[in-house]
């Protein structure tokens, strides 16, 4: 019955909406952490000191090769069991943020390498310190180069956020709403369909936004 199909959406629009915004907040929170930590790790990776580079390398290899769900369990269940007080929300954005930060660090690193070496040499010879060079010359350009890869990572975060909702953390995100409605109404297809639509709306929105940003800011090398 086509009418019932849409009913699942319209009858429960409040819940859908709430779930949608929970997902959005999750992604934003994780993105902030990912960018901050990712930038820091990228800086480590390109530092002139071998040990700092290795430290950054360890971070990247750890967080890129471990499953997000395992990380979530470690952060949410493991730390709590050891006595470190951490609430669901923090555990969620911390896990997703730290996980994505490893990828962001790699993306930034390749963005930095795309900056012509000559600029760095010129800057240093003009008397800028290493960190000033980084801050004023290299990073601004690096950021503009990596708009597209970072856009892909945001889309990945949107998809990964669903893992959080489906796991023990139970934050009432878009997928969770779909599951609850499925359980309540016995209508699997519409329940999951509308959840899928929600995710597609988000990923399409991000794709469009990234394209806009690219046309305005991106540096093509």
């Amino acid at each position: 019955m086509p009418i019932a199909f849409v009913d699942i959406l319209t009858d429960n629009f409040g819940e859908w909406s709430s779930g949608f915004w929970v997902t959005v907040r999750l992604v934003i929170g994780s993105f902030v952490i990912a960018m901050v930590v990712g930038t820091f790790v990228a800086a480590l990776r390109i530092a002139p000191n071998v040990w700092l580079q290795r430290l950054g390398g360890v971070y990247v290899e750890f967080f890129r090769n471990i499953p997000l769900l395992v990380l979530l369990f470690i952060v949410f269940l493991g730390l709590r069991d050891q006595g470190i007080r951490i609430d669901a929300w923090t555990a969620a954005i911390l896990s997703l943020g730290l996980y994505t930060a490893a990828y962001i660090a790699e993306a930034l690193r390749s963005g930095v390498f795309a900056v012509p070496k000559g600029q760095i040499e010129a800057s240093l010879s003009l008397g800028f310190t290493y960190s000033q060079t980084l801050r004023r010359i290299v990073l601004p350009q690096a950021f503009r180069t990596v708009i597209s890869p970072i856009g892909s990572l945001v889309i990945a975060m949107i998809k990964n956020s669903a893992i959080i909702g489906a796991s023990i953390i139970a934050l009432g995100d878009l997928l969770k709403v779909g599951r609850i409605l499925n359980s309540r109404t016995f209508q699997a297809f519409p329940s999951f369909f509308w959840a899928a639509v929600g995710y597609l709306i988000l990923t399409i929105a991000v794709t469009i936004a990234i394209r806009r940003l690219e046309t305005r800011y991106a540096i093509r090398r």
């Binding site: 994505t100 892909s152 990572l153 893992i163």
Partner: protein
């Protein structure tokens, strides 16, 4: 009980370590099966996408773009519910030599989702690989009188797919990690075994003597994945270098696929 020192003394005790390792092998098996099937189906999708028929190309493109952008978890949960009849049929038909976890009907939902999702991602990887070949290749092939099918089989695909090896291994790493998601439908993998180990160890009701803190158990499981995935990425790098040496050209990295991170 909450000593911060990581002792991991539960690993050799009471079969815990072995139990988890067996579970881990289950995850790897799921990844392996999914990869093979996804590569086959993905190749089909890639070829359809490259079809000269506008409608086919468009429809396939739509399919691929939709499944690439959906959360894998959603597909797992959805297909598990949707494919209930298939699950039942499988449970009755499953051969006995399969591991216990694979005999459960839940494997149907898990594999279907993994294959559907990864075939879409791999389709894009393969398509990008094929498109990255110089036009000259295809033109030369037809100039030599090869049909479309022949030029695909003999010229384009071998070269295109070879370029995709690093990206495919990278996707295998992601696939390994994704197999943990099947635990969310109670498929008995390393994650579920981890929960059993934690609950069973040191609990007075089970007679077990050694405690296994959750943090340690999941760090152990995480380490299993990290080791295997690191080995895979080393392998990938070595393959890349060998390709470069062999063909003398720099292996083009296929960009824009960072969404592979899950």
């Amino acid at each position: 009980m909450t000593a911060p020192a990581f002792i991991f003394d539960w690993v050799p005790a009471e079969n815990n370590g072995r139990y988890l390792l067996e579970g881990f092998v289950i995850n790897l098996e799921v990844a392996f099966v999914s990869l093979i099937a996804a590569m086959a189906f993905g190749l089909l999708l890639a070829l359809l996408r490259l079809s000269r028929n506008r409608l086919v190309s468009f429809a396939t493109g739509l399919w691929v773009d939709v499944f690439r952008n959906l959360p894998l978890v959603l597909l797992i949960l959805f297909l598990t519910v949707l494919l209930k009849p298939v699950r039942e049929a499988w449970e009755n038909a499953a051969p006995d030599f399969l591991p216990e976890s694979f005999q459960s009907g839940l494997v149907v939902g898990a594999l279907a989702a993994l294959i559907l999702y990864n075939s879409a991602v791999l389709a894009e990887i393969m398509r990008a690989g094929i498109l990255s070949l110089p036009r000259g290749q295809g033109e030369a092939a037809s100039a030599l009188g090869l049909t479309y099918a022949q030029s695909m089989r003999l010229v384009i695909l071998p070269q295109g797919l070879r370029r995709m090896v690093p990206a495919t291994v990278s996707q295998l790493i992601t696939l390994n990690k994704d197999t943990t998601l099947v635990s969310l439908i109670a498929f008995q993998d390393v994650m579920r075994r981890g929960r059993s180990v934690v609950a069973n160890a040191g609990n007075p009701f089970t007679g077990s003597k050694v405690e296994a803190p959750i943090l340690e158990v999941f760090l152990f499981i995480g380490l299993l994945f990290i080791v295997v995935n690191l080995l895979l990425s080393r392998l990938s790098r070595r393959l890349e270098i060998r390709e470069q040496k062999r063909s003398g050209t720099k292996l083009q990295r296929v960009e824009g696929l960072e969404d592979q991170i899950t």
